[in-house]
C-alpha cells in the first residue's frame, strides 16, 4: 500500500464518525443549550436571551426535590447493581465453562421486548392487584404497600432494566482478566478476601466504573419508569423534564433541565475518571 493511500484511508475513517457525531450529537446539544437561554410563552418560543430558566431550576423547591431524588435514586441503583452484578459476572466467568456466552446472552433476553412493555409487565407484578400483592391477598396476608406505586417500585424497575448492562460490562472486564493472577496471589499467602480486594477488584475497577456509569447516567435522566411505577411522590427529574416538552409546553425550561443533566453526567464521568488511577487498575496501554 502506498503512503498517500493509507493517509487518505485514515482520514476517511476519522471523518465518518466525526461527521456523524457533529450531526447527531454536537448540533442537537448546541440547539438544546441555545433553547435553554430562551423563553417559552403560550406554547411559543420567545427568542430573547435570559437566564430565567436556570434561576427557576435553582430556586423552586419542586425541581430541587426532583433533582436530589433522581441523584439519590441513581446512586443507590448503581451501587446496588454493582454489588449484585459482580457475583453474577464472576460466577459466569469462573464456572460458566463453554456455556459462558449463552449465560451472558440470556441476560439480554428481556431486551427483545420494548422498555414500555417491560415496565407494564412490572406494573402487573407490583401493583395493588398485581401478581405479588394479589397472591398475598388471596392467602389472607397483608399486601406489600412499599412496592405499590412508590420510589421502591421505581428502584426495582431500574435494577431490572439495567442489570444486564452492568453484568455485561463487568463480565467483559473479568473475561479479559488473567485469573492466574489470583492463583499467584494465593500462592503469595493471600486468603480469599485478600485475593479479591488486592488483586481481582482493583484490576477490574475500570470495567466496574463503566458498569456503574452505564446505569447511573440513564437512571439520572429516566422518565418512563417513574411515570409507570413511581406514584404520587415518585416524580424524578427526567420525568419532569419530559413533561416540560409534553403537557406543559415549556420547552425552554425543559432544555435547561436537559443541560443540567448533561452537565451532571459529565461531572460524574470526570469525578470517577479522576478518582481512578489507570496505572492502579493495571491499565498499561499508556507506556511504550
Amino acid at each position: 500500500m502506498s503512503e498517500p493511500n493509507a493517509a487518505a484511508r485514515k482520514r476517511v475513517f476519522l471523518y465518518i464518525p466525526t461527521t456523524f457525531l457533529v450531526l447527531f450529537f454536537v448540533l442537537p446539544l448546541v440547539a438544546l443549550v441555545v433553547l435553554s437561554f430562551w423563553q417559552t410563552a403560550n406554547y411559543k418560543i420567545v427568542r430573547e436571551w435570559t437566564t430565567l430558566n436556570y434561576v427557576t431550576l435553582a430556586t423552586e423547591s419542586a425541581y430541587i426535590t426532583f433533582f436530589l431524588r433522581s441523584l439519590l435514586m441513581a446512586t443507590l441503583v448503581s451501587i446496588f447493581l454493582v454489588v449484585v452484578a459482580w457475583p453474577i459476572a464472576f460466577f459466569i466467568v469462573r464456572f460458566g465453562g463453554r456455556y459462558k456466552l449463552i449465560f451472558s446472552l440470556l441476560l439480554a433476553v428481556p431486551f427483545l421486548s420494548g422498555e414500555v412493555l417491560r415496565l407494564i409487565a412490572l406494573q402487573g407484578m407490583l401493583g395493588p392487584t398485581g401478581l405479588i400483592n394479589g397472591a398475598l391477598l388471596r392467602m389472607g396476608a397483608a399486601p406489600l404497600r412499599f412496592i405499590m406505586y412508590s420510589n421502591s417500585a421505581t428502584f426495582i424497575a431500574f435494577v431490572y432494566l439495567y442489570l444486564p448492562m452492568t453484568v455485561t460490562t463487568i463480565y467483559l472486564s473479568l473475561l479479559n482478566f488473567d485469573l492466574r493472577l489470583a492463583s499467584a496471589a494465593s500462592a503469595c499467602g493471600a486468603g480469599r478476601l485478600r485475593v479479591f480486594s488486592e488483586v481481582i477488584w482493583p484490576l477490574n475497577l475500570s470495567g466496574t466504573m463503566i458498569g456503574f456509569l452505564l446505569s447511573f447516567i440513564p437512571t439520572l435522566s429516566a422518565s418512563l419508569a417513574p411515570r409507570f411505577l413511581g406514584g404520587p411522590n415518585g416524580t424524578l427529574y427526567g420525568m419532569s423534564m419530559a413533561q416540560q416538552f409534553g403537557e406543559s409546553g415549556t420547552w425552554a425550561l425543559g432544555a435547561a433541565m436537559g443541560v443540567v443533566l448533561v452537565l451532571f453526567s459529565i461531572a460524574a464521568l470526570v469525578i470517577l475518571s479522576l478518582g481512578v488511577n489507570l496505572r492502579r487498575t493495571g491499565f498499561t496501554g499508556m507506556e511504550r
Binding site: S183, A184, A185, A187, G189, G282
Partner: protein, 351 residues
C-alpha cells in the same frame, strides 16, 4: 529415602480429572537442602504435581506432608510456600516494591521487618533503581528476578518454580540458571523446579524426577539419570540419543539394518532389543575398520562441539557429537561409526 521425617513428602498422590489420569500413584521425598527438577514432556502431569504441592489443586488420592505436617487439605496461603510462574504473573497494578512486599503484608509482618526483607531482596536480586517501576516497565529478565524475589521474600518453606525460564532468551536463561542455583544453596530450602528442558534440569538440580504420562519414570541423582537410564523413555528423553533396533542372543547384539554387531561385557536380555547410544558417545573411525559405514553429509559447529550429520548405507541419518579439534572429518568423508559396547543402553524392545 522413604522415612516419615522427610522435609517434603509426597505420598502416593494421584490426580484424576474425570477419566483422565493426570497423575498416577506418585511418591517423592524431598530433603531440606535439595534442588529437585521435575522433568517431563508437555502434558506429562508435571505442572499438575506442582499445583498439588502448592495447594492450587487437591489430589484425588494420596497425601502431602511438609515437615511432617499433613498439608493435603490446606489452601495455598496456609502452606508457607513461594512460587514462581512461567508467565511471571507479577501484579500489573503494583510497583516492584509493592509486588515484593505483598507476601510480607499477607503474613502481617511489621513495617521494619518488611523494609528489612525488601532491602535484602533488592540486594540479592540486584533490583537497585527498579523498585518503583511497574512490571511492564521491566525487561523479561528483570521481571523474572522480581518474580523470584516475590517467591523468596517471605522465607518460604520451599520454593516452587514452574518453567520460570521458558520465556527468556537463551543467554539470559543460562545466566539465571546459575543464579537460581546460587540462591538455593544460600537459602538452604528445597527448590522444586518443573521443566520440559533437560538442559535446565541437568544443569541446576541435585536430583531429577522424570515424569511421563502421569507416572514417575525415574528419580535419582542427575548424573545417574543421565548415565544409567532405567527405562527406554528416560534414555530417549534425557540427553540426546540415537536408537537402534537390534536382536540379542544374550551376549552379542546384532543390528540388522546396519549389519553391525557388538558385545557388552554385562549380560543383556535376549530377543528383540532397543539400543540407545548418546550422541556424544559415538566414535568415528577410519573407513574400512569395523563399524557402521557412513558418509559425513554435514558438519554443524556448536561452539566447543561439532555435530556430524552422518548417512549410513541404508540412508538412515545419525548425529554424532564430538569435541572440536583440528583435522576434523570434512563433508563427504567416509568414516566408520562405532561405540563403546558398555556405554550403550539396552532395553527389551517395546510393543
Amino acid at each position: 529415602m522413604t522415612d516419615a521425617s522427610a522435609y517434603i513428602k509426597i505420598d502416593n498422590v494421584s490426580r484424576h480429572y474425570g477419566a483422565v489420569k493426570a497423575l498416577h500413584n506418585l511418591s517423592i521425598d524431598i530433603a531440606k537442602h535439595e534442588f529437585i527438577a521435575i522433568l517431563g514432556p508437555s502434558g506429562s502431569g508435571k505442572s499438575t504435581l506442582l499445583r498439588l504441592i502448592a495447594g492450587l489443586d487437591r489430589p484425588s488420592e494420596g497425601r502431602i506432608f511438609f515437615k511432617g505436617e499433613d498439608v493435603t487439605a490446606l489452601p495455598p496461603h496456609k502452606r508457607g510456600i513461594g512460587m514462581v510462574f512461567q508467565e511471571f504473573l507479577l501484579f500489573p497494578h503494583r510497583t516492584v516494591r509493592e509486588n515484593l512486599a505483598f507476601p510480607l503484608r499477607m503474613t502481617q509482618e511489621t513495617p521494619a521487618k518488611i523494609k528489612d526483607r525488601l532491602d535484602w531482596a533488592e540486594g540479592i536480586l540486584s533490583l537497585n533503581g527498579l523498585m518503583d517501576r511497574y512490571p511492564n516497565q521491566l525487561s523479561g529478565g528483570q521481571q523474572q528476578r522480581v518474580a523470584l524475589g516475590r517467591g523468596l521474600v517471605a522465607n518460604p518453606t520451599l520454593l516452587l518454580l514452574d518453567e520460570p525460564l521458558a520465556n527468556l532468551d537463551r543467554e539470559l536463561r543460562q545466566e539465571m540458571e546459575v543464579e537460581i542455583r546460587r540462591y538455593q544453596k544460600q537459602l538452604g530450602i528445597p527448590f522444586i523446579y518443573v521443566t520440559h528442558n533437560q538442559e535446565e534440569a541437568l544443569s541446576m538440580s541435585d536430583r531429577v524426577a522424570v515424569i511421563n504420562k502421569g507416572k514417575l519414570e525415574a528419580l535419582g541423582e542427575r548424573q545417574e539419570i543421565y548415565d544409567h537410564p532405567n527405562t527406554p523413555f528416560v534414555a530417549r528423553f534425557v540427553g540426546r540419543a540415537t536408537r537402534f533396533d537390534g536382536v540379542s542372543d544374550g551376549t552379542t547384539i546384532n543390528i540388522p539394518e546396519h549389519g553391525y554387531s557388538f558385545a557388552p561385557s554385562a549380560p543383556v536380555p535376549t530377543g528383540r532389543v532397543s539400543v540407545f547410544v548418546k550422541n556424544e558417545r559415538f566414535a568415528l573411525g577410519a573407513a574400512g575398520t569395523p563399524g557402521i559405514a557412513c558418509t559425513v553429509i554435514d558438519v554443524v559447529l556448536r561452539g566447543p562441539f561439532v555435530e556430524f550429520i552422518l548417512e549410513a548405507a541404508n540412508k538412515a541419518r545419525i548425529i554424532a557429537v564430538q569435541p572440536k579439534r583440528p583435522n576434523m572429518h570434512a563433508i563427504g568423508a567416509d568414516i566408520s561409526l562405532t561405540w563403546d559396547a558398555n556405554l550403550a543402553h539396552i532395553f527389551p524392545a517395546e510393543g
